[in-house]
Amino acid sequence: MNQGTIDLKDVSLVFGTGAQSVVALESLSLHVNAGEFLAILGPSGCGKSSLISTIAGFQAPRAGTLLVDGTVVDRPGSDRGVVFQQPTLFPWKSVRDNVDFGLRMRKVAWSKRQAILDEILGKVGLSEFVHHYPTQLSGGMQQRVGLARVLVNQPSVMLMDEPFGSLDAQTRLKMQELLLDVWSEFKMTILFVTHDIDEAVFLGSRIAVLTRRPGRLKSILDVELPRPRSEDVLVSPEFMRLKRNCMALLREETVGHA
């Protein structure tokens, strides 16, 4: 599969107008390979989420070009799935109907949908909760639904905006492992925004470190930890080295701005 290439050239994103405008991204250039897991790390408020919104098509860049698979992004689409910071599920739909939504929008035949739903819901461990409403689920479970909802569409790009930020440490680790499983199976491009260095190193093939606002690309690190990764990676020397690197880079950005 050769889909899921992302190209950003000198992309700027500005919110508001006049004196109250905020420059979220400034001349950001970035190339993401098809099937790559790119972690995006930056100090809080650096425009990480804005980057996700732009690629998702929620916000149009003020300047620069943004291409996904060679096509200019001008609106949201099911080729770019988004897992939000908050699960953002439809409260009025059961777990199954939430996950089914994308399939129905793409007019997949009923019998085919049932097979896909059973498979995906099983994969993310939700088989027993298909008839629950989102508010009946814990945060981790809700985020599983959020993930499953995107997976049924088999997007070439999956955009994740601190999806595990509000989960407790144990749940988060489980979700990270689940995500790596899913990624190794589906091989989509993943952009994963986080402010958690451990998470970025544990998940990413590369880590893009952004500067504080206005967000620019500060540096890109290769993560050459072997896959499949498990908890053991977290205490390996290479992990520690990368973590120290990231901390140093982030500290430069937060000094005097904490």
Binding site: W92, F101, M105, R106, H131, T135, V150
Partner: protein, 313 residues
């Protein structure tokens, strides 16, 4: 089943009492009974000991029964002794008189026509108002241009109370029937419209974003995200609208009706059937309460998820 019915009745008795806290808790319990069978292991629901809950219910029922009795007793004393201080009870019938008149009213062959006339007026006006206000509100909530075009004239009309429309409505419509329906419509229109707009505007934008990234286009965003998202607010508007429609139909009937519970009440006054006045008032109250209850019930049926939302917050 028994508990279920008792709770249902408890929530009916509560409809007339506006304060929210009590009502909310009763509603929740009622819902709890109706949605049971959901084998949700991780639902966080307040679990009380059944026997203690039962005792509390019995005690509260007793207190309420005593309060009702005391009210009837005071009323009886006031009318038999022709109580007079600022208000006069000289012409106020006793509870027993009202009961007798009420039984008569229930048996009378004219009663169905009175009740059905009022019901038809209210429901027609209300249904028309809902059919206009909900789609309009959904669209206005999404389009600033449309909001400016449509809301400007409506904002001018809005402060005019429905009752003030009665003379003009009588002049504008060929039959009194139509004018009364129109008045019910006007009264219900604004609460439904404004609640719908409010519901759309307060919808979490990210839900629309989520729908878009899942491949939804305008139509499905409307029917599957905006409409259900605004539904709790719409149902609130419908409940308020229903109340106002009843208020207005009674007033309109007193002025231009041939039949109807409002007409019956006013006719009883002019014919000096004082017990019937109170019977008419009670009939109006019961019909209004029943209508609001039906709207609320409809809301619960349409929003099975809403109960869980309330729990989570």
């Amino acid at each position: 089943m028994l508990a279920n019915r008792r709770q249902a009745r408890a929530s009916v008795t509560f409809q007339a009492v506006p304060p929210a806290p009590n009502q909310a808790s009763v509603t929740e319990r009622w819902n709890g009974a109706s949605v049971a069978g959901d084998d949700s292991a991780i639902v966080v629901s307040p679990s009380r000991e059944p026997s203690r809950a039962y005792l509390t219910l019995v005690r509260r029922a007793l207190v309420r029964a005593l309060a009702a009795l005391a009210f009837l007793g005071l009323w009886h004393l006031a009318s038999t002794h022709k109580f007079k201080f600022i208000v006069s009870f000289s012409f106020v019938p006793t509870p027993a008189d009202v009961l007798a008149a009420g039984l008569e009213f229930v048996r009378s062959s004219k009663t169905p026509q009175h009740v059905l006339s009022s019901l038809r007026r209210v429901l027609t006006g209300f249904a028309l108002a809902a059919a206009m206000a909900i789609p309009l509100g959904l669209v206005i909530g999404r389009s600033r241009l449309l909001a400016d075009i449509v809301m400007t004239p409506l904002e001018i009309i809005r402060p005019i109370p429905g009752v003030a429309w009665i003379p003009l409505a009588i002049l504008m419509f060929p039959t009194p029937e139509q004018s009364m329906i129109f008045i019910c419509l006007v009264g219900a229109l604004f609460p439904i419209l404004l609640s719908t707009i409010h519901g759309v505007e307060n919808l979490d934008r990210r839900l629309i974003y989520a729908a878009q990234t899942l491949g939804a286009r305008q139509w499905h965003i409307f029917t599957e995200v905006i409409l259900p998202g605004a539904l709790p607010s719409i149902v609130t508007g419908l409940t308020i609208g229903m109340g106002i429609s009843w208020f207005l139909v009674v007033t309109a009937e007193m002025i231009s009706g041939r039949f109807g519970v409002g007409y019956f009440t006013w006719e009883s006054y002019t014919l000096q059937n004082y017990a019937d006045i109170v019977v008419g008032m009670l009939a109006i109250g019961i019909l209004g309460m029943g209508s609001s209850f039906v709207v609320r019930l409809l809301g619960r049926v349409l929003m099975p998820w809403h109960r869980h939302l309330v729990h989570a917050r």
